[in-house]
């Protein structure tokens, strides 16, 4: 899937401008990473790509394979094949994981998936991710650890078979081993689905080392300010973002 983000300016409901004339093109099968200090609009970008109504697009456009998706609702975009692995996946009481997964799989197919093929697919994915089968009978993400929630995002990814994947800080809250399991699963998925493109939002190069990376972008104050490759990611890890941004990050944390 080809994604073109053209001169996108986005505000929150309380009039705060977050993305400023943001542009980025991700061609079919490419893996792009965005790094940047906290509060610079990375997660906003991820949510705006899926049409989160908490944000308002002031100007610019988002094209998927040449067609604008701005008038499409979140669920329509998802059914087109856009998938966001959330930074902090929410939990919902009483909705079982299994029920949720089956519903999400069924809304994008003509014929409902049978119980047996569904269980087979799910159990294989659980095994690949080293997840406990019992978790699937629990409520969606309820009483899941941070790491389990992240793995559950990748489980959904595997089952929903997207054409464009956005990973919003997948590596936060994952230990080294779990990160390797998740990232390897994504890398394998990309081998099987070479046309799928990826946008990775992260602070650390580690996750990128597992993926067939094409570009790394440094983002600051709502726009891309520098583009490079893995070397840029390593440089950022070593030196930090700009010195003044590091200070600003500290302020934001308080």
């Amino acid at each position: 899937m080809k994604i073109e983000i053209k001169n996108l300016t986005v505000k929150t409901k309380d009039e705060k401008e977050i993305l400023k004339n943001f542009s980025l093109t991700i061609s079919e099968g490419e893996v792009h990473a965005i790094m940047g200090p906290n509060g610079t609009g990375k997660s906003t970008l991820a949510k705006v790509l899926l049409g989160d109504s908490a944000y308002e697009v002031i100007s610019g456009d988002i094209l998927v394979d040449g067609t604008s998706i701005l008038d499409k609702t979140t669920d329509e975009r998802a059914r087109m094949g856009i998938f966001l692995a959330f930074q902090s996946p929410i939990s919902i009481e009483g909705v079982s994981n299994t029920e949720f997964l089956k519903t999400a799989m069924n809304v994008r197919r003509e014929e409902k998936i049978g119980l047996y093929p569904f269980l087979q697919t799910m159990n294989q994915a659980l095994k690949d991710l080293n997840m406990d089968e019992a978790m699937m009978h629990r409520s969606l993400n309820q009483d899941f650890s941070g790491g389990e929630r992240k793995k559950n995002e990748i489980l959904q990814l595997k089952l929903l078979e997207p054409s464009f994947i956005i990973l919003d800080e997948l590596d936060s809250g994952l230990d080294v081993d779990s990160l390797r399991v998740c990232a390897t699963n994504i890398a394998n998925y990309l081998k099987d689905h070479p046309k799928t493109s990826v946008l990775v939002i992260t602070h650390y190069p580690r996750i990128l080392s597992y993926l067939p990376l094409n570009y790394v972008h440094r983002m600051n104050e709502g726009a891309i300010v520098e583009t490079g490759d893995m070397e840029l990611a390593k440089k950022i890890e070593k030196e930090g973002y700009l010195r003044d941004n590091v200070l600003r990050e500290d302020v934001n944390h308080e």
Binding site: A78, E99, V107
Partner: protein
Amino acid sequence: MELKGLTEDVITQISELKNEDAWVKDYRLKSYKAFSSMEMPSFGPKVELDFSKIIYYKTSEEERIKSSWDRVNKRVKDELDTLGVLESENHMDGMGVQYESEVIYHHMIEELKKKDIIFTSIEDAMKKYPDLVKKYFGKIVSFSENKFAALNGSVFSGGSFIYIPPHTKLDRPLQSYFRIASKNMGQFERTLIIVDHDSELHYIEGCTAPTYSEASLHAAVVEIYVGENSKCRYTTIQNWAHNVYNLVTKRAMVDTNGTMEWIDGNIGSFVTMKYPCCVLKGDNSNGTCITISVASKGQQQDSGARMIHLGKNTKSKIISKSIAGNGGNATYRGKVDIKPDASNSEALVKCDTLILDSESKSDTIPVNRCQNKSSNINHEATVSKISDENLFYLMSRGIDKDRAQELIILGFLEAFREELPMEYAVELNQLLKKNL
């Protein structure tokens, strides 16, 4: 046959039509006296009923109860078949159906007869087992209790009588189905359930009515006795039409080591006032009420539960889930009273409310009294709405907004749904879809 208006004469006629013994007729007249002198409830929704315009008794056939569907009037049978009543019998050990004022159908599997289980209409039981009925009838819910219990005492007709002998268990539930098909109709069934010691019963009640412009009234009384070491579960899903007043008094008396569980779903009706009660009389007895109320446009669901702790080491649990949408009003009204002698007792009250829009209302009105030092009451309450964050998450997986809301609502009610037999859980989903 149709009797309209409420007078001593009408009550006498009902009693004579039913060919009742003198003690039953006396009970009716005493109840009527109490009814006449009592005020409408001083709390809750406003009840505007013209008692002179209500039909208190109506039957289309004056024959006896049938035990085979082939002998039930074809029009009525077809109507009930469309509602899925005939199909649901396959999942039960026995079933009764009340149409307007009389029970028209009663059937239970042979095995139950061998076990000496009694499952019949209250009128039939009054004739065949008068001593058993007299021992409990009106003893758990008195006619002086409230105006609608008194009304029921005067004009009751139909309802189930169940007796489970000692050391007896059923594999599957017993079910009754109540239907109002006429406008201005009042249905006043009276149910008496006796679960003798060391036994177990699951009873299911379902109700529907078509919609008419003039309000109908359903004022039932349910009395349950749970014997020593016994367990009774009473499951209701009421789906009355949106012009029915549903004013019901339900109470269980629980003996030593006994357990009573009310699983109470309120989806339909115009106004519902219903607070299933457990009187935990015996030591170590348990009471549970899991209740949901769903109030949509024009509906007022005033429901909850009451737990009265009399015995020592008694435990009670109330879980209430209310949903208000499209301008509806869903209110929890409940009472827990741990009496001075009920030492070492525990009560838990958990009320959760989901409000779907700004036009809808909800209230939580709990009364919790703990009258001794060794006992305690825990009360938790939450009010929430469907958050944009949750909707966004579900929609980001391709699920449309309506289905996403439905998933969240069903999830909210899961504590209730998981207590229902499978086919009822499916039916509940359909009802919620239609109502919200």
